[in-house]
């Protein structure tokens, strides 16, 4: 008899039917169960394991192992690589976003660009790594062409160095990611704001300086942070390109996982992973804060 045919108000939702609140919780059990096993557990394994040694005794040895020179340099390299490519991606991606946003909403340019960027951003390091091998690798298209013109790429392993080659390849997927993340924000700029600024006497520069700039700033910085995280966490591209050594942290972790060294080495990998998580968590928190502000202004 207690069937909710016409609920009068939007009051206590869990109370309206025969099943009551505990019954409702049953409905979300599969989800929480699944994520507990495949998301929370691995996370705990990493977090807790970072503080355990080979015989599962608590220790800070793994953390102190992080101070080894090659680990420190890997962290530093990762941060620099991520920061540089984040900035490059943000700047060029930002320009691209603005260019696309000013085009026709349903137009071909926009569709193609969005699709291209969707693919390049999401699709994965290995294919892109090989694309670059084909371009600037030993037998690469551009390498050969430059040789014909007389420029010899000194030491054709430059592609595999984090400072040069990786920067180039990473930027290649950072720009598209920027478009995907930032374009909605640029779309959110109402034409009325520009027109209002104009009627009040503002020039184009005034508009950008006082209106569009400040409005887009949180989104821009947020996107930049996201780009940082993206580069920082990337593994596949580097794994496919770098055959010797582990100049960046993800490769170090990969190495720790797949090496047949002493058992204890695994937990150093966990400590490194924890270090990564901490850095990424900080950046993502900042991103979340900025996102909230943006949503308010751009009414999305």
């Amino acid at each position: 008899m207690a069937d909710p045919t016409l609920p009068a108000t939007a009051a206590a939702p869990g109370r309206s039917t025969s099943r009551g609140p505990t019954g409702a919780l049953l409905g979300v059990l599969p989800f929480f169960g699944y994520t507990a096993i495949f998301l929370v557990t691995p996370t705990l394994v990493v977090v807790v394991g970072a503080f355990l040694d080979g015989s599962n005794q608590p220790t800070l040895g793994n953390i102190s192992a992080l101070t080894q020179p090659q680990v420190v340099s890997a962290f530093v390299n990762s941060v620099i690589l991520s920061a540089v490519t984040a900035v490059l991606g943000a700047v060029f991606g930002g320009l691209l976003s603005y260019a696309v946003a000013t085009g026709r909403p349903g137009g071909l340019l926009r569709r193609v660009m969005t699709a291209v960027c969707g693919v390049l951003a999401q699709f994965g390091g290995v294919t892109l790594a090989f694309a670059f091998v084909a371009t600037v690798g030993l037998q690469g298209f551009v390498t050969i062409w430059l040789q014909k013109v007389g420029i010899d790429m000194d030491g054709s392993t430059w592609l595999f160095e984090p400072t040069r080659g990786l920067v180039l390849v990473y930027t290649y997927f950072q720009i598209p990611l920027m478009l995907i993340v930032f374009l909605p924000a640029v779309d959110g700029l109402r034409s009325q704001w520009r027109e209002a600024a104009e009627t009040l006497g503002g020039s184009t520069w005034d508009y950008w300086r006082h209106v569009a700039g400040p409005i887009l700033a949180p989104s821009f910085i947020g996107a930049l942070l996201l780009l940082f995280t993206n580069a920082f966490s990337a593994y596949a591209t580097a794994a496919a390109l770098v055959s010797q050594g582990s100049p960046i942290i993800p490769l170090q972790i990969g190495g720790a996982l797949s090496s047949e060294v002493l058992l204890g080495q695994e937990n150093v990998g966990k400590a490194m992973a924890l270090g990564m998580v901490v850095i990424v968590a900080v950046v993502m928190t900042l991103y979340a804060v900025l996102e909230r502000r943006t949503t308010r202004w751009l009414g999305r």
């Binding site: 909710p4 694309a131 690469g140 593994y235």
Partner: protein, 272 residues
């Protein structure tokens, strides 16, 4: 009499220049890949590599790992999307209808993988997958469990947008008042109305699964990207050809998808 017109012209010029330059940057590796894979041994062009690739029999014979990887990835894509939808759609709808207080929690969990990158997750997955192997065997398709976690943020966002666009509560209550069971509500009322979001989340998931390398590689299983990587050490040309083909297919699918779910793009209010 063309003040606004000149501004529009400048904007168009800017647009063409920026898109042109960056477009060139994007296109270069693609062109390079095509160039690389059509090189004939003695100079000049040859379509041998592509002919080989399109000959399924030859692929199976000469590059068995590629075939294995492709099939594994295909299976993974299907399974991941299925599990993801089965997990997320009922849960998200249910939370909206009966447990709105849990919404933030569910959102947090779904967005958590953004902070736990694959390379970190795989470290913690090793012991979990020991159990998975125990129960399900060693096949690569069981990577789907991990992949569902990886796609959670993207799928959640897409589905959340879709559910926000319709009045879930009213639809569900209307259906219930007409006598529908909860299954009917989900399957015949909610789902058809979030078709676009479901499609989008499915596509994003497929893209991610097909592009995934980290977890598969470090858990020693096969998938497309692992296969391509392995192949790259052996035969650069074929691996580059496969990479190109994969990117092209993904692009075509995404491009086609942009014609579905219209109206969402045209949100800019243009005064006329």
């Amino acid at each position: 009499m063309s003040l606004q017109a000149s501004r529009r012209r400048r904007q168009t010029l800017f647009r063409h220049v920026v898109v042109g330059v960056i477009g060139l940057f994007f296109a270069l590796p693609m062109v390079a890949m095509l160039e690389f894979t059509t090189r004939a041994p003695g100079g000049g062009r040859s379509l041998d590599t592509w002919a080989t690739l399109l000959d399924v029999g030859a692929v199976e014979r000469d590059y068995p790992e590629l075939m294995t990887g492709l099939i594994a990835s295909a299976g993974l894509a299907v399974l991941t999307v299925a599990i993801m939808l089965l997990l997320l759609v009922p849960t998200m709808t249910w939370v909206r209808l009966r447990l709105p207080g849990l919404r933030r929690t569910v959102e947090f969990i779904c967005l958590l993988p953004l902070t736990i990158p694959a390379i970190v997750l795989v470290v913690g997955l090793a012991p979990v997958y020991a159990w998975v192997t125990y129960f399900f065997g060693e096949s690569s398709v069981w990577l789907c469990f991990a992949y569902v976690v990886l796609v959670l943020p993207y799928a959640y966002r897409a589905l959340d947008a879709g559910l926000s666009a319709i009045d879930v509560r009213t639809l569900a209550e209307a259906a219930r008042s007409l006598g529908a069971s909860w299954f009917t509500v989900m399957w015949r009322v909610i789902l058809p109305n979030i078709r676009t979001a479901v499609l989008l989340s499915a596509f994003l998931s497929v893209a991610l699964v097909l592009g995934e390398f980290t977890i598969a590689s470090l858990l020693n299983r096969d998938n497309l990207q692992v296969a391509i990587n392995l192949l790259g050490k052996r035969d650069a040309s074929i691996s580059i050809a496969v990479s190109f083909a994969a990117l092209l297919v993904a692009f075509l699918v995404l491009f086609a998808m942009s014609f579905v779910g219209n109206g969402r793009r045209a949100r800019r209010s243009k005064e006329s």
